[in-house]
């Protein structure tokens, strides 16, 4: 199939399958999936600029589907999502500015590659340690407990003592997040978490859900199911902003994004429904390979010089 905007010839079946896989990951983990979509689009010959912009456009559609599904399950904190969107957009701009500075210095590829490998590996290692520790302590407490439906949302974390200490920081203004079960937390902490996520998104590319989703659980103390749903809601806003910005620069082939989204629409629903059958620590443990895949892709491009 010929796509006139980017001038690319790509099989629509390939795009639908890629969209479907990323849709499942997005619906289940609350990530955009750009670490897979970008290389998958590059693999069929789409230029980098179009791969990045088009992927963002497809993320908007996929997140709308997943959020509607998560909202039906009560997994979206709209107040938190809107606040985080502000911090994310500011962070994304700061990350993009740093990229421009490194471009001028002439060592952008090396620095970004090293930082991303360190970040991806750290997230995977930490989440594996925490979720396994939580699961072990839960097994000790109740070996017969069954996880199904709403009971799966009662979240436990081996890192909760740090989360509670963060929530005790009284930096004005304090806000309550009743949907997420947070009685009081400083607005600044939420904005910093969102800013850091947005910064890495702007710096390393993509929506940075692999940083924001764990940060929401460990730093803000949001239950995993709500973190997934709210992160997706926040992604709609930040990815729309990114899509607009890239489309103005001529980096979006919306026809490719629309075709990809036909697969993602089904995948995102399957992913979102599946979260209802897993407890928070299990979702976090299953999340571990995702940043690792990102790290492997970066290591491959660093050593071979190929840009996937």
């Amino acid at each position: 199939m010929f796509f006139p905007i980017s001038g690319a010839h790509i099989s629509p079946i390939y795009l639908v399958i890629v969209g479907f896989v990323i849709g499942i990951l997005g619906g289940f983990f609350g990530v955009g999936g750009s670490f897979i979509a970008g290389p998958a689009l590059r693999l069929v010959g789409l230029d980098w600029n179009f791969a990045v912009g088009t992927d963002l456009a497809h993320i908007v559609g996929k997140s709308v589907v997943a959020v509607r599904q998560h909202r039906a399950f009560g997994n979206v904190d709209l107040k938190l999502g809107l606040i985080m969107a502000i911090g994310t957009i500011a962070g994304a701009e700061a990350g993009a500015q740093l990229i421009q500075m490194l471009k001028r210095a002439g060592n952008v590829n090396f620095v970004v590659s090293i930082v991303s490998i360190v970040v991806y590996l750290s997230i995977s290692a930490f989440m594996m340690w925490e979720s396994r520790k939580t699961l072990k302590s839960q097994r000790r407490r109740s070996s017969t407990a069954k996880v199904k439906g709403l009971t799966a949302k009662k979240d436990k974390s081996a890192f909760s003592h740090v989360t509670r200490a963060i929530q005790r920081l009284k930096i004005w203004p304090m806000i309550a997040l009743p949907t997420s079960g947070v009685k009081g937390i400083s607005l600044w902490i939420i904005l910093v978490v969102a800013f850091v996520g947005g910064f890495f998104g702007g710096f390393l590319g993509g929506g940075a859900g692999y940083i924001r989703m764990p940060s929401m659980v460990y730093v803000l103390g949001i239950p995993t199911h709500l973190a997934v749903g709210t992160d997706l809601f926040e992604i709609i806003i930040s990815a729309s902003y990114g899509t607009f910005s890239h489309a103005v620069k001529g980096n979006v082939d919306i026809l490719i994004a629309l075709v990809m989204h036909t697969g993602a629409a089904i995948g995102a629903q399957i992913g979102a429904i599946s979260t209802q059958y897993f407890a928070g620590p299990k979702i976090r443990l299953a999340f571990v390979p995702l940043p690792l895949i990102g790290a492997v892709i970066v290591i491959y491009t660093l050593f071979t010089g190929h840009k996937l």
């Binding site: 908007v60 559609g61 607009f244 489309a247 026809l255 629309l258 036909t262």
Partner: protein
Amino acid sequence: MKKETASTLRTFAIELAIYALLVVAYFFLVLHFLGQSLYQLETRHRYAYAGVAILLMIGQAVLLQNVTTLLLRFIRGRAG
């Protein structure tokens, strides 16, 4: 339990098959006609194209979700 799973999988397979047909029709009818007009818009009016791109994406998301929900309801209704 196994019977229930088999029934869910069968419903899902039927839904996928009907959905695939709808998507193929969509590729040929809608995208074929939209292609040229979107290409013209992208080359001449970038800001309008950016806005239309987001609206199309959100519109398709809402539409497809409603289609899949309706399909599922229809198939389950017939099966039950």
